[in-house]
Symmetry: C2
Subunit: 205 residues, 2 copies
Amino acid sequence: MMGIRAQQKEKTRRALVDAAFNQLNAERSFSSLSLREVAREAKIAPTSFYRHFKDMNELGLTMVDEGGLTLRQLMRKGRQRAEAGGSVIRISVETFMEVLESNPNVFRILLHERSGTSAPFRAAVAREIEHFISELTHYTEATAKRSPELARAQAEALVTLVFNAGAAALDMKRVDRKVLADRLVIQLRMVAKGSEVLQQKMDNR
Amino acid sequence: MMGIRAQQKEKTRRALVDAAFNQLNAERSFSSLSLREVAREAKIAPTSFYRHFKDMNELGLTMVDEGGLTLRQLMRKGRQRAEAGGSVIRISVETFMEVLESNPNVFRILLHERSGTSAPFRAAVAREIEHFISELTHYTEATAKRSPELARAQAEALVTLVFNAGAAALDMKRVDRKVLADRLVIQLRMVAKGSEVLQQKMDNR
DNA sequence: ACATTGAGCGTACATCTGTACGCTAATTTA
DNA sequence: TAAATTAGCGTACAGATGTACGCTCAATGT
C-alpha cells in the first residue's frame, strides 16, 4: 500500500503532467512551455518541480510515453469493434477520428515532437509510431498473404497516411473532417489494393 | 536601376535571411531562434533588424515562401530529366533525395513549421505543399486517366508519403537513406497501382 | 519517543529576451 | 548645394527564465 506521503507526491506529479497537457493547444507546443508556467498551472513553486522531474525534457518524455500508451489502448479497444464485422479500414479510420477528437492534446505532442528539435523526443515518438506499424505489419502478414518486406512497406504507408491526416484534422471543423476521413479511406484502399497487386506479381514469377 | 543605398539594404536583408537559414539544424528550429541571435549572425545591431522585418514572424514567412519556391524550381528541373525516359516514380524520388541532401535547411523549416504552433506558418507551408499536390494532380489526370477525385486523393497520398520520408531521411546517414528511398518507391507504386485498380472498378459499372 | 527524510516554499541572481528612443552619417531628392 | 530621408548603432529597461540555496514541518522509520 502507498503511504499518504507517496500518495500526495503522486498526486502532485499528476498535477504537473496534467497541467502540461492542458497548456497544449494549436498555438502552444510543449517546447514552448516553460518550467515556471507548468509549475504555476499545477500550483506549486517553480523549484518544487525538481522534486518530480530532472528537467522539462523528462516531463516531456513522460508525456510522450503516456500519450502513446493511451493511444494504443484506445485504438485496440476500437479494433475489437471492427472484429464484429465491416470494413476494417473504414472502422479503423472512424476510431482514429474519435480518439483524435477526444484527446487532441495527446496527438499534438506526438505530431509536433515527431518533427521537433530534440533528438530524444523524436526517438520517443518514432518508438510509439513503430508500435503501430509493427502491430499492423503482423496483422497484414497474417490476414492477407504478404512477403515480410511488402507487409512492412504497406503498414508503414498506412500509418503514415493516417497520422498525416490526423495532423490535418486537428485544425478542422467537424464537417471538413468528414471529407478528410472519406478521402483517407480511399487512400488507404489504394495502398491495400496496390500492395495486393504487387504481391500477386511477385508470386507469378 | 537600384541605387547604391537600396543595394546595400538588399544585401543586409539577404544576410538576415541567410543567417537564419544557417542557424537551422536538427536541434534548432526557426521558432527557437531569437531576433538577437539572427542579428548577431548577420552582424548587425538587434534594433536594425526592424529596418527589414516587422518581427521574426515576418522573417519566417519570407523563409517559407522562398524555400518553397527553391524547392519547386529544383524539382521541376529534376522532372525534365524524367522526361528523357525511365520510371517517373524512381527518378522523382532520386531527385527529391538529392534536393533534400543539398538543401536540408529549406526542408527543415517546411517540415517543422508544417506542424508548428503558428497558424500563419502552417498555412504558408500548406500552401507550398498544395502547389506540389496540384501540379501532380494535373499530371495524373492527364497521363493516367483518373476521375478528378481519385487523381486528387492519389496525388495527395503520394506527396504525403514523399514528404514524410523526407522528414525521416533528414536524420539518416546516406546508407540508410538508400533503404528508405527503395521502400518509398515501393509505397508510391502501391498507391499508383491501387489507384489504377480503383479507377477500373469505377469505370466497369 | 525521537531522529530522519523529503515535498514544497521563498528569496535571490545571472542571463537572455524584445524593443523604445534618439543619434550619426551617408545617400537621395529637389 | 541645401534639405530630407533612412540604414544602422548604442544605450537602456522591464520582464521572463532556469536554478542554487537553505528553511519548514508533516510523514516515516526505529
